[in-house]
Subunit: 217 residues, 2 copies
Amino acid sequence: MSDKELGPRKAPRQKRAQVTVEAILQATAQLLIQHGYRKTSTNRIAQRAGVSVGSLYQYFPNRDAIVVALFEDLAHKQMQVFEDSVADLLEPRGREIPLSDAVRGLIGAILATRTVEPDLSRILLEEVGWTEHVNLVDEWTQRATTLVATALRHPDAQEEMRALDADFAASMIVQAGFGVLYGPRSEALIADPRFEEELCLLITCYLKPRGAGEGTS
Amino acid sequence: MSDKELGPRKAPRQKRAQVTVEAILQATAQLLIQHGYRKTSTNRIAQRAGVSVGSLYQYFPNRDAIVVALFEDLAHKQMQVFEDSVADLLEPRGREIPLSDAVRGLIGAILATRTVEPDLSRILLEEVGWTEHVNLVDEWTQRATTLVATALRHPDAQEEMRALDADFAASMIVQAGFGVLYGPRSEALIADPRFEEELCLLITCYLKPRGAGEGTS
DNA sequence: GAAGAATACGAGCGGGTACTCACATTTGCA
DNA sequence: TGCAAATGTGAGTACCCGCTCGTATTCTTC
């Protein structure tokens, strides 16, 4: 049961085929958001997309393949947003960014990823994402962790930090951040005006040596 | 579709009936762990339990009711472990526990709950807990948050803390803790020997006023 | 032991599911 | 223009699902 094919079956070569594939993906996204995974059947997808089931199965070997494609699209877009935000943050003037500002920027970057198709993101994450055989959330988390670990190893950061294994600290931060940003009841937390500042505090206090001061922005 | 009954249909009055119900629950747990929610059908459950579908439907109005019963059993057991751990921690000598020790104890108590049927716990959490109309994880999180908020309002705690809204702080802590303890890749994190101490640090540093000292245990 | 209540049984119903296939239509290209 | 390849079609197949119901078995009570 884990040997199901999940890749695309045939590549669309003509423009109308690409339109079809796009319609299928969009319809799937809509149905997932509106009715959840269990009620999103291939027949419904085809109907909503305005194509026939047959066309659907020309490009996807089974239902899960569509969802996986959707997930990969989304993950790609979110990673792009994240990496762009981080680049914007660090590139312009390359020196002497206080740790707290860097963390604040990082949080901003992660929050930015939440703006990318939030409804679809939520449903994919909660209903199909992190269990099942293809653990894409795991991959996402690992990439984010690597990125944060690299940032933590930067000399500028090291200067303001206590002695700490960068990989371990990155794991802690990313996982804690994951909970705060995507866990249950995260909507309410994020909506709170104090949220961004407090999350920043949570992380910087953890990284800084004991006894360091911290002023409000 | 949200008006489905989820409570038990009929209470087992004889011993053999209780055996049947128990067999159904155990079979369901096994199938959930082995094959996931989607492949755990009532027919399969009955077969694995060594009873007939008819018997199954005598005690449960539908499939989800079984899962909910399983969830409630588990939640109850875990809560028991949690409360016992907390009692052990606080009862013996009732005064003057440093904040960091209290947090450490709380973390220990939560970690202890992870030892209760971890496989079942994981699958229930990830696959069925937090989507669908019955949002059980949400409920669990809310209860935990309330508990922590109450603890934070205790005068002993307040003394060592910075000025901070207890409800908000509790949310942050519970959500962050959730990510670290149950998020993707949490296994690896928790297995690390530094984990417990670092999580303790993460939380205490967040709660304490800036500039407070903290020694290793 | 008789009688009624509780329990157990499982074939089968209605319906939704994933997916196929023989055929129709459109497209690119010579 | 003609023709093969690409694409689109949707009725139909085989299957599995949740769940019911009439019947058989076992327990309790007197």
